[in-house]
Every structure is written in C-alpha cells, then in structure tokens.
C-alpha cells in the first residue's frame, strides 16, 4: 500500500498547473454516490406515507437525528447552518466507509480536512459577526487588550487543530494498515485486515466524523452565542 497521494492527471488552466490527485477523484466518486443516493431518496420521498416504513424510516431517521444533533449542539437560533454540516457529516463518514472498499479516504489528505476546517472557521467568523456584531470583535480584546495576540492566535489555531486532528486520525489508520500489509506474511493478510479496516475505517471514522462536526458546532456556537 502506497502512503502517498497519487497525482492522476495534470491540468493546465490559464497557464496554471493543477494536479488532479487521487483525493480529488475519490471526492468526486463519493460526491457522485452521495448525490445519487440523495436523488433516489428524493424520488422515493414523493411516495412517503404518514406512517414511515423501510427506506422512509432510514431517511427520516438520518435527517431527524442530525437535525436534533445540530439543534442541540448549536441551539435553535443557529441551526439554520445545519445543511452545511449535514454535508460535512455525510462526506467524512462516507470517506471512512468507502475506504473499507479500498478507496483512499479523501479525509486522509490534509487539503481536504483543512478545507472543511477552513469552512468552519469562515462560518465561525461570519456567525460571530452576524449574531454578536461588534461584541464578537471585542471578544478578541478580552479580558484585556494585551491578550489580543493570544486570542487571535487561539482563533487562527482552531481550523489548523481541527484539520490536523481529522487528518491525523484518518491517516493513522491508513499508515497502520500499510505497515501491517508490509510487515506481515500473506497468510496474516486474510481476515485480520478486514477487522482492522472495520475498526479504523468504520469505528474510528464514525467517531472522528462526530468529533469534527461537534467541535465545529462548539466553535460556531462559542463565536455566535452572546456570553
């Protein structure tokens, strides 16, 4: 197993070299699958009944669970940003789950995790200024203006720490599995890796998805809620 992220193509747009990496292609694959599932769900939704059954139960449970989670963590006044995090949740979890089938998780690439963390950071700033206006800016100078540099670094560190946390956890599973494949004889590579994939990709993936989204909610709530 190669730990490096492969560059599949190089594209030049306006003279700018752009690498189309394995991460981007896998992201497109996951996007296509998620959008296809969403379209199927949307088509089935037209036949949804008052009493849910089968597939309707799955869709309703997923949406309702996430909506309750978002409303609980963010508060009802901020829960209108939940659709973005629904995508984040679905994407990170799908990335982990699809890696069970040998697809390198896009979240095992720092560019992806930083993108998601950066979006959280932008949302945090936006929500802070939108809901607290000058109060949010003032919070950078508390409890004394001398703390401004520290507060600024603290805020800027948030997307970095958030992105590296997810990246590190996702990559660690990939590295451990790669080392295992490198160091063990072929006999040991039957059955056992499946359990390791289940643990690192499914269990750790689900846990990290929850952690990423929950911490994002906390950052945004901390910025937007007037303390």
């Amino acid at each position: 197993m190669d730990l490096n992220i492969k560059n599949l193509w190089v594209v030049y747009i306006g003279g700018v070299e752009i690498w189309i990496t394995e991460t981007i292609v896998n992201t497109w694959i996951i996007m296509a699958i998620l959008i296809l599932l969403a379209v199927i769900a949307r088509i089935r939704m037209t036949r949804f009944s008052l009493v849910p059954r089968g597939f309707q139960n799955v869709i309703e449970t997923v949406v309702e669970l996430f909506d309750n989670f978002a409303a609980g963590a963010l508060g009802s006044s901020l829960s209108y940003i939940a659709p973005w995090f629904f995508m984040v949740f679905a994407f990170i979890l799908s990335s982990s789950l699809f890696s069970v089938f040998g697809l390198r998780a896009p979240t095992a690439d720092w560019a992806t995790t930083f993108t998601l963390a950066f979006a959280t950071f932008i949302l945090m700033l936006f929500m802070g200024f939108r809901h607290r206006k000058g109060g949010y800016l003032k919070s950078f100078f508390g409890p004394h203006p001398i703390f401004f540099p520290l507060n600024l670094i603290g805020e800027l560190a948030k997307p970095v720490s958030l992105s590296f946390r997810l990246f590190g956890n996702m990559l660690s599973g990939t590295i451990i599995l790669a080392i295992y494949y490198q160091l063990t004889p072929w006999l040991m590579q039957i059955g056992i890796p499946a359990l390791m994939h289940a643990f690192f990709d499914v269990v750790i993936g689900a846990l990290q998805t929850y952690i990423f989204v929950f911490i994002s909610f906390m950052y945004i709530r901390g910025a937007a809620a007037d303390n």
Partner: protein
C-alpha cells in the same frame, strides 16, 4: 483565453503525503468548490425536502392532536353539562317525589277521614233503617196476632166449640204465633 490541457498519469509528478505550496492551495480551492457543490446538492435534493416533509407531518399530527384535544375539551364540557342537568333532574325528581309523597299522604289522610265519616253515616243510616224495620215488623206482628185472634174468634163462633175442638184451635193458633215469631 483559458487553455485546458490534460496530461496522462505518466506525466504527472510524483505523489506526496503532505505539502504546503501552491498546489496545496489549489487542492484546497478545488475541495472547497466540491464541498460547496455537495452541500448545495444534498441540501436542495435531500435535507431541506426531508425536513419540510417532517415539519409538515409534525404540523399535521400536531393539528390533529389539537383537534382531538379541542374535541375532548368539548366532550368534557358536554359531560359536565349533562352531569349538571342530571343532578338538577335528580333534585327535581326528589322534590317532585317528596311533594307527591306529602300530597298523597294528605290526600290519603283526607280520604280516610271521609271514608270513616261515610262509613259512620252508612252505619248510622243502617241502624236507623234497622230500627224502623224492627218497628215495622212489630207492628206487622201485632196486626197479624189481631188477625189470627179474630180468625180464631170467627172459627169459635162458627163451630160448636167443644173441648177437643177448642184444644185443637188453641194449638193451631199457638203454632201459627210461634211460626210468626220465628220469622221475625
């Protein structure tokens, strides 16, 4: 004008695990675009319609619950009203029964008194009638005795009365008198 050229994998540079350069920034920009597209797609196609469906269903159920609660409240009001009416009817019935009892008692008392008075009058009239009848029978008996005595005297005078005949006439007369007394 933008020019787009795609090279095959062989021409692509060696892969890497991590880097901080222009390509990373470009990767981040592409992933951000991908994320925005995915977020919009999932939100428009699935999340918002599903939430809308759930909201409408919740509203519908809530509306039915409200209707049921309103109906239940009305039913409770009706029950309370009927119970009040039943209680009033019971009180009215008790009152009517009590009045009827009192009235019946008074009437029975009056009827009894009237019946007693009537019976007393009937008895009195019967006693008077009996007294008159007794008087009339005495008079009749007296007249009959006179008639029998006159008959005896007539027979005595008509026949040559000897002792045996006299005895027989006497016995017959006495027998007739006894018979007349027994009838009275």
């Amino acid at each position: 004008m933008l020019t787009l050229t795609v090279f095959l994998t062989q021409a692509a540079p060696e892969g890497r695990l991590f880097g901080l350069d222009n390509q990373t920034v470009i990767q981040i920009a592409i992933q951000l675009f991908n994320a925005i597209v995915l977020a919009v797609a999932l939100s428009v196609i699935l999340y918002k319609p599903a939430k809308e469906f759930l909201r409408k269903r919740s509203d519908g159920i809530q509306s039915k619950i409200n209707e049921a609660e309103t109906a239940a409240a009305k039913a409770n009001e009706l029950i309370a009203e009927y119970e009040r009416k039943l209680k009033a009817i019971d009180q009215e019935r008790e009152k009517i029964l009590e009045e009827a009892r009192v009235k019946a008692y008074e009437e029975s008392k009056q009827m009894l008194a009237e019946a007693r008075q009537e019976a007393s009058e009937i008895k009195k009239r019967a006693m008077e009638s009996m007294a008159e009848e007794k008087k009339r029978l005495k008079e009749e008996a007296r007249l009959y005795i006179i008639e029998v005595a006159a008959e005896m005297a007539k027979k005595y005078l008509a026949e040559a009365i000897d002792d045996a005949v006299q005895e027989r006439i006497f016995e017959e007369t006495i027998a007739q008198l006894e018979e007349a007394q027994w009838r009275n």
